[in-house]
Amino acid sequence: MDLQYFAELFLGGLTRGSIYALIALGYTMVYGIIELINFAHGEIYMIGAFTGLIVATVLTFAGFPTLAVLVLASVAAVVYSSCYGFTMEKIAYKPLRGAPRLSVLISAIGMSLFLQNYVLLAQTSDFLPFPSLVPDLAFWEPYAHIISSQEIVIISVTATVMVLLNLLIKFTRMGKAMRATSQDREMAMLTGVDVNRVISVTFVIGSATAALGAVLIASHIGQINFYIGFIAGIKAFVAAVLGGIGSVPGAVVGALVLGWTESFFTGYISSDYEDVFAFIFLVVILIFKPSGILGRSETQKV
């Protein structure tokens, strides 16, 4: 019984961690390139969820089959979120290159407020039910009480996305350009890297990941409103920092550690102080490893 309880908490934490990870990946990539805490990243996630819902509903009314709806809604969410991410960078961050970093942060906060209220006014303040796009498979039924098929999809998508992003950064030309930009923007420019393009691509990839996460998570939770991005964003941000902000595997490790911490703490102690414990844990980790679990420890140079 106790082992089973442990296993269930473990799986619960794994799902939760994977959810955080899908959002944290975008955070960490943007941070890696331009050292900006992109406060509006959660809002991109939220817009992905809304676009997915709108497209899915319209298609369902038009009589499309479930699988087509799932695919098309995800594609639409990814495309639109990427476009929003791209536009946001052009409007709110690009004119601020070279400005104090805190100014960019405030600009991001402004963007976040704007997007939240834009969706609130254009759509609704109520919670909307999100259809379950991943069906409960019949053959999985005997194990469904342990882990549902949706949870399996979330976990595997997270793993796939992480591996793909890692490959992209390690082996493609674009990835090389990204790494160069993150190390030294001016030097990268001198060697012929189109820095503006690299930054745009980073935003597009980060937003696309968030949107993919948005559709899967919303379909798992079953409801969305305009405020979901903020709460999820804060947690994802914590996860990214915990893992070492700027590092792709770090974001996933940080998210999983956070997910398990919360799950086990709730399971064995109390959910009253779940977040308190998560934050204390973060502080303790950072005291011993000031740049996160997988972060490179930077030597300060004079």
């Binding site: 709110a92 601020l96 600009s107 759509q123 804060i234 308190v276 004079v302």
Partner: protein
């Protein structure tokens, strides 16, 4: 650039935005009632709006770039109007007197509502100046500043509830406890820098709020503490209006005190040490500045003002619960500091006035209030990244013997 190219650009922008806002603005699905609503008129509005705004946007960006170029070519940064006033002693003193008279007369001329929101604005001046010590002067990004505000508010509320201590006794206690918590936060984060510091302070703010929410026996939990007395004056019975004015004057006095203190601090030995720490930690240590002590005093002194403001907050609203101390509050105060101009006292004062009064006067926009606020934040930062009053770094020019007689 020819007008034709300009128009083509704007058309492209307009098409892009029509595409971008299509699902959110045009379609509205209600999955509760299963209806889809198509709102094509929104698309036309967006298209036309973005077409026109894109001209304005490009014009503004060009002007901003010209400004930067001009600066590079010489002349140095232009001083803002406030700094110029500050340097002209002849204008500065009368202007200050006029301002002082205006502040004193103000509550007798306008309605109670106006007095109340001005009180709030002055409270935020205190908060902004306090956070300015940590963020603007010492360069430590603090996203959990609201925690100290909460400490102050709960200090008064709880001490009053259990021991009947009055406002004036609690004011210094609140400040002292704020400072204490500042040091408490300061210790674990001494080694952290930049955004790691930001997230830990954010966590600290949330921890305080969650503890207040969960620990019912101590803080009465989420239902909060009500009927906190407003500040008294030797047992004089006030009417509602008189009380609003009385609190206003207390806050004004404290805000003036804050401005005075922070001004003195910035020019003191410790103030210089903060600036040095912000610019270069290692060089600073090499010059013999005690890093630990300097950072801790920054946290402690910053938190003191939040503690003070918290006590006033509790006395003004007469009811507090943990919901008032969310991360949004920290963000709001941070916006004051950055929007006003980091490190500049005039800037922070103006920032507080704009950030508190703007949403109140934007009430006319009703539901578009926060939307507009977000837009203003972005535009402010894009076109004036240094804030309203960008702080001019203090420089010393060495004038050698041969340059002296030029």
């Amino acid at each position: 650039m020819t007008p034709l190219i300009e128009i083509r650009k704007s058309v492209l922008v307009s098409i892009w935005f029509m595409f971008l806002t299509f699902p959110i603005m045009v379609i509205r699905v209600n999955t509760v009632e299963n209806v889809v609503e198509w709102r094509w008129h929104n698309m036309i509005a967006i298209g036309a709006g973005s077409f026109l705004l894109s001209f304005v946007w490009r014009y503004m960006i060009r002007r901003k770039e010209q400004g930067i170029r001009r600066q590079r070519e010489g002349a140095g940064p232009r001083l803002s109007i406030f700094q110029r006033i500050g340097q002209e002693r002849r204008i500065f003193l009368p202007a200050l007197t006029l301002l002082a008279v205006a502040v004193v007369v103000f509550p007798f001329l306008v309605s109670m509502y106006q007095v109340n929101i001005m009180t709030t604005a002055f409270m935020y001046i205190m908060l902004g100046l306090g956070l300015n010590i940590v963020v603007g002067v010492a360069g430590l990004l603090d996203l959990g500043y609201v925690a100290f505000y909460a400490v102050g508010a709960y200090t008064y509320a709880l001490l009053n509830h259990h021991f009947g201590l009055n406002f004036w006794v609690c004011l210094p206690i609140g400040a002292a406890l704020g400072a204490g918590f500042g040091i408490l936060l300061g210790f674990p984060v001494l080694r952290l820098r930049g955004d790691y510091l930001a997230i830990v302070t954010l966590g600290f703010g949330e921890i305080i709020r969650l503890v207040l929410e969960n620990w019912n026996e101590f803080s009465f939990g989420p239902s909060g503490i009500s009927n906190i007395p407003r500040p008294g004056l030797f047992g004089v019975a006030f009417s509602l209006e008189a009380h609003a004015r009385y609190i206003y004057f207390i806050v004004v006095a404290l805000a003036v005190f804050t401005i005075f203190m922070v001004n003195r601090l910035q020019n003191s030995r410790i103030g210089r040490a903060w600036l040095a720490l912000r610019e270069d930690e290692i060089a600073c240590q090499a010059m013999g500045v005690d890093k630990t002590r300097t950072k801790l005093t920054a946290f402690a002194l910053g938190a003191t003002w939040a503690g003070l403001a918290g006590v006033i907050f509790a006395a003004k609203t007469t009811f507090i619960n943990p919901a008032s101390f969310t991360i949004w509050e920290s963000i709001n105060i941070l916006c004051i500091v950055v929007l006003g101009g980091m490190g500049s006292i005039t800037g922070v004062v103006l920032g507080a006035l704009v950030l508190v009064l703007l949403p109140e006067y934007l009430r006319a926009f009703a539901e578009y209030r926060i939307l507009t606020f977000g837009v203003v934040l972005v535009l402010m930062m894009v076109f004036r990244p240094g804030g309203i009053v960008s702080n001019v770094r203090r420089t010393y020019q060495f004038e050698g013997p041969d340059s002296g007689d030029k």
